[in-house]
Structures are given as structure tokens and as C-alpha cells.
């Protein structure tokens, strides 16, 4: 079972440049077609299950807008059991 992760995009920083969308190995990030940030951008967001918390989106993000979380090892064991 793959590791579960999630991202939180700080909309104060995100400019919708799509570098994270392009870089995501799981292809689970897209620009939110509905939401618009205070600066007028469609922010990046997780659009489907499958985030592994690999952090690649954060590595390419020019705005340091993404916080990446990953399921802790202990939690995984619990879930697997």
C-alpha cells in the first residue's frame, strides 16, 4: 500500500504557475478551477487521491507556498493491521 500524504497550499503565496502541477509524479495536483486567490490566481490544489507526500511539488515551488505532510510510519503500521 503506497504511503499516504497531502499538501496544503498557502493561497497567500500561490501564483498558479503550475510548476507543481507539471512536476507531480502522481499527477494529483491541478489548479483549482473555481477558487481565485486575493491576487487573482487559481491556486494549486490536490484534485484526487494518490498523494504520497513525496515533496517534489514543494521542491519546484518558487513561492515556498506548499507544506507537505506524510503519514507517519507508526500510523501506516496501524492502518495496515
Amino acid at each position: 500500500m503506497p504511503v499516504k500524504g497531502r499538501i496544503v497550499v498557502n493561497e497567500a503565496y500561490c501564483k498558479g504557475c503550475e510548476l507543481c502541477v507539471d512536476a507531480c509524479p502522481q499527477q494529483v495536483i491541478a489548479l483549482d478551477p473555481v477558487r481565485i486567490t486575493a491576487k487573482g490566481y487559481h491556486p494549486a490544489t490536490l484534485v484526487q487521491e494518490g498523494c504520497t507526500g513525496c515533496g517534489i511539488c514543494a521542491i519546484v515551488c518558487p513561492e515556498a507556498a506548499i507544506t507537505v505532510y506524510r503519514e507517519a510510519a507508526k500510523a501506516r503500521q496501524t492502518a495496515a493491521a
Partner: protein, 257 residues
């Protein structure tokens, strides 16, 4: 979806101010800022940092890094950094300069800071054009590259050849660590961060001048999307500006980092 028992894999570094940047969407200045801030956090250098901002798109760098900063005249950041470092030798002094600033108007200052082996760290963002003033030809603009001041593409017959700053500075005895990295994909970004780490280690240990050239994109002035820009960088810039270590002093090569 709230997940319990999770760990933070990545979060914004402390050495970045809590504010939005003025950079265009996708601009890799932001990536460079972030990497530098991350390394400063990891090495615990923030309290000892003094940055020198330059003129160009990164003119407001001092607004984004959360440590002491001064603002230099166009091209003169290495000279200001020299003044600071000579008075406060145990502070960690960095400049952050673009290609217009460092490789054009500031060529004298950078060459001599390197020649003196000045114990400072220089971050050199190369995006092959003058970004802030609207995309004019820079000393780093590629042959044939169109800019607003080389509308038919840079003609080397009349407009000369691009400057390869890393190769040039690497010839100087005083330079201890001069490398070129790129910010166009995760692998290269990780390599860039490692180089930034090495550069600061060089300074912390008093080993002399270090410069990290970072190949960057300028989607707005290149007239491309950020993702297209990354591909353009990879296809066009890297062949002319190969990624590599141009000067690694033997003592630096032995550093265990």
C-alpha cells in the same frame, strides 16, 4: 481529509519572510530564495547572516529573506559585501545578483572579489536576459536569442558573445568554489541546494570566495508559460552553459558535508 499521526515533509523555511514575493508566477528566483533560506536554516546561520541585495528583479530580496540586509548600487554588491566582511569577518555575507547586475555592470567588482579570494558567497541568477527592465539583451543572452533589444536574435557579429561567468571566474586563483547549477527540475534543484550548502560551508570555514551560478527562467520576458520555460532552459541554455563544478579547491573537495 484529516490525517492523524503525520509528519511534516516540507514547510516554508524560517529564513524566508512571511510575505508574498513580487516575482512573476513561475519565476525561479523564488526557488533560489527558498533553497538559500533552507540551507541557512539547516546550518543555523540566520543570526549571523548579512545579505547584499543587488539591482534587477531581485532588488527587493531584502524583503524576502528574514535576516539583515543591505542594498547595493547596480553591480557593486561584491564590493559592499567585501566592506562588510572585512569589518565583521565572523558574519556570513552573501550577495544575490542577476546576470545584468553581476555579469555586465558589475563585472569588475565580481572578478576582483573572486581574485582577492574574498570570503563571501555569491548567488548568481542567470536567466539570459534583463528581467526587471523588460527583457533586454543581457551579457548572458544566447546567440540568436530574441530580446527586446536584440529583436532579430542576438547577432554575435555585432552584439558579441555571451559571457560564461562560472568558467571565467574559475580561472582565478582566489576563487575556491565556483559551480553552475540549474533550477529546471527536481533533480537539478536538489543538486543546486547541495551546492549552496557547500558554498556556505566554504565561507563558514574561511576557505574563501564561492559563487553558485543558477540557471533560471524568465517566463514573462521569454513569452512562455513557466513549464515551457523550464523546457527551453533545458534545451537551449544548458548546452551553452553546462552544469558542472568549474572550480573546487582541493580543500573544498575534501569537505565532508
Amino acid at each position: 481529509m484529516v490525517m492523524l499521526d503525520e509528519v511534516v515533509v516540507y514547510q516554508r523555511p524560517q529564513s524566508l519572510e512571511e510575505c508574498a514575493t513580487h516575482y512573476c508566477p513561475g519565476c525561479t528566483h523564488g526557488v533560489a530564495h527558498r533553497l538559500i533560506a533552507e540551507v541557512i536554516d539547516e546550518m543555523g546561520l540566520r543570526e549571523r547572516m548579512i545579505g547584499v541585495a543587488s539591482v534587477g528583479c531581485s532588488v527587493f530580496a531584502y524583503n524576502y529573506f528574514d535576516f539583515d540586509f543591505v542594498q547595493a548600487p547596480h553591480g557593486r554588491a561584491p564590493a559592499m559585501a567585501t566592506g562588510i566582511k572585512r569589518v565583521l569577518p565572523d558574519r556570513i555575507v552573501m550577495t544575490y545578483q542577476g546576470d545584468g547586475d553581476m555579469a555586465s555592470i558589475g563585472m569588475g567588482e565580481i572578478v576582483h572579489a573572486a581574485a582577492r579570494g574574498e570570503n563571501i558567497t555569491v548567488f548568481f541568477l542567470n536567466n539570459a536576459n534583463y528581467g526587471m527592465t523588460g527583457g533586454q539583451m543581457a551579457p548572458t543572452t544566447l546567440p540568436g536569442q530574441q530580446t527586446t533589444s536584440s529583436p532579430k536574435g542576438r547577432d554575435v557579429e555585432t552584439q558579441g558573445y555571451p559571457v560564461r561567468a562560472s568558467e571565467l571566474l574559475a580561472t582565478l586563483e582566489g576563487a575556491s568554489y565556483v559551480v553552475r547549477r540549474s533550477l529546471h527540475d527536481p533533480k537539478n534543484i536538489r543538486m543546486a541546494k547541495k551546492a549552496i550548502r557547500t558554498a556556505f560551508e566554504v565561507q563558514v570555514r574561511g576557505l574563501g570566495f564561492s559563487m553558485i551560478e543558477l540557471l533560471s527562467i524568465c517566463p514573462t520576458n521569454w513569452g512562455m508559460t513557466p513549464v515551457q520555460s523550464l523546457h527551453w532552459l533545458e534545451e537551449h541554455m544548458i548546452p551553452y552553459y553546462p552544469i558542472g563544478d568549474y572550480k573546487v579547491h582541493p580543500i573544498v573537495a575534501e569537505l565532508k558535508i
